[in-house]
């Protein structure tokens, strides 16, 4: 399973929507219920699922799912 497929499962779990389909350009505007509180839940769930920890800078730079995937790929490759 690719990173984006695993990430999609995490999104579906956090937003409780089995039909959700993310892609690299997806942002908070595209997902119902994705606000600042659910964003924190999303990040902590991703960190627990992928066993990574994002730095403050990485979190503040992320603008879309593509940025999230790129950070995950880099961290998992370096692990």
């Amino acid at each position: 399973m690719t990173i984006i497929e695993r990430l999609n499962q995490t999104f579906r779990l956090v937003f409780d929507d089995d039909s959700l389909q993310i892609h690299p350009h997806t942002t908070a505007n595209d997902v119902d219920g994705w606000d600042s509180l659910s964003h924190v839940n999303l990040i902590t769930t991703i960190e627990a699922t992928f066993r990574v920890r994002f730095t403050q800078k990485e979190l503040l730079k992320q603008r879309n799912v593509g940025d999230l995937v790129a950070d995950l790929e880099r961290k998992l490759a370096g692990a």
């Binding site: 924190v40 902590t44 800078k57 979190l59 503040l60 730079k61």
Partner: protein
Amino acid sequence: MTFTSVSWFLFLPAVYLLFRYSADRWRWLVLLLASYGFYASFRAPYLLAVLLVVTGASYLCALRIAASQEESRRRRWLWGGTAACGAPLMLVKYLPALQTEANSLLGVSWTFCATLITVAVSYFTFQAISYLADIYLELEEPERHFGRYALYLAFFPKLLQGPIERGGDLLPQLRQPYRFDYQAMRSGLVLFGWGLFQKVVIADRLALYADQVYDRVHDYSGVSLILATYAYAFQIYYDFAGYTDMARGTARLFGVNLTENFNAPYRATSVADFWRRWHISFSRWILDYIFKPLQMGWRHWGKGGTAAALVITFLISGVWHGATKGFLVWGLLHGIYLASAISWQPVQKRVYGWLGGEKRGWLKWWRVFVTFNLVCLAWVFFRASTLADAWYVISHSLYGMKGLRSGLLMSQGLFELLFTLLLVASAGTIGRALKSLPEQRSAARRWCLYYAVAVVILFFGQATKSSFIYTKF
């Protein structure tokens, strides 16, 4: 000089003509000199010094951040630049208040630090800090042309009260060659006119009622206090929105589009929604540079971390407005509103579900009504002269009507009262009509409305108040 001064109406055309007929490569210099000249009109040389220090420090630190490869060096330049930009703001804004408190606590009477005017310092400092942060986060490349960077901070249409422009939004526009655009000129002048109307006809008129009560709260009770607070809520909105439209209209003359700062804030259905509609450039700033870093840093505390981040962010917002207990309480109230919504939201969703869904008409208007009153409750602390006065207003609002007729409603006469109510009720319609004017094909219709607005401004504008509320923050 402000946007409502007589000198402004001589300054602006002169600057525009000089700008228009200068070679394109020197237009940045015309605007920069005009901006510093505009700022110098406040006759406070230390303000120009502060602007120069903040400009120089942020320009240099941004270049050093971009040139550094090592993360710890980049972070040092970021924090160093932020401190260098923030220190002058802290000094001019808070030293007089600290001196007053020290005098009161220690029983001395130091006067080495008289009250300083701080106009514009907050706004360009916040811009400089956001620029540094965006360079550090590699969201933008640094501007290497010092003059253009200086203009980004000092651009006179937005100098006094914002909008707080991001580097990525304004700097590219300043790099573009200027092309005369008749439609942009026309829409800019109309937007400026509408802003002027909001300020001198609506806001300054509402101020007569709000000030009547808030300058002598103990002469009023009950409905009088509530109506005066509502009047202030609309006064501050039209004052600030009016300024923003004048700033945006002026900027359009020079080919620059500034950020929208308001989006019908009193139609918000929650306090969170209010902050997405009120002083948008400022709320985006505190969201991106204070709230998000705190929230992400405390993310493993769950809802508690988010709540704490919200309270601290809005406390800072309150303190930014001024070093008084009233502003602190105002900020704290908004922080508490937003923090408690985190726990309240799931319950609220269930209740709305039982009531047929949150999009139902009456429920939406109920939410607008509740949100407006929560915001007004906080405005009491913002406007009242002292905490004791604010407490008096709140504790005496629910009963009585002392001073209602003769003191408040009829204080300016019946005609003024009816005219004010008509203005507030029709302001939205007038604004939409004016903004859609440039697209109208009928020149006669356009010119009739321009003439009507000009006549109302000239004959019904309040000449007594020339300052803008948000200039003092």
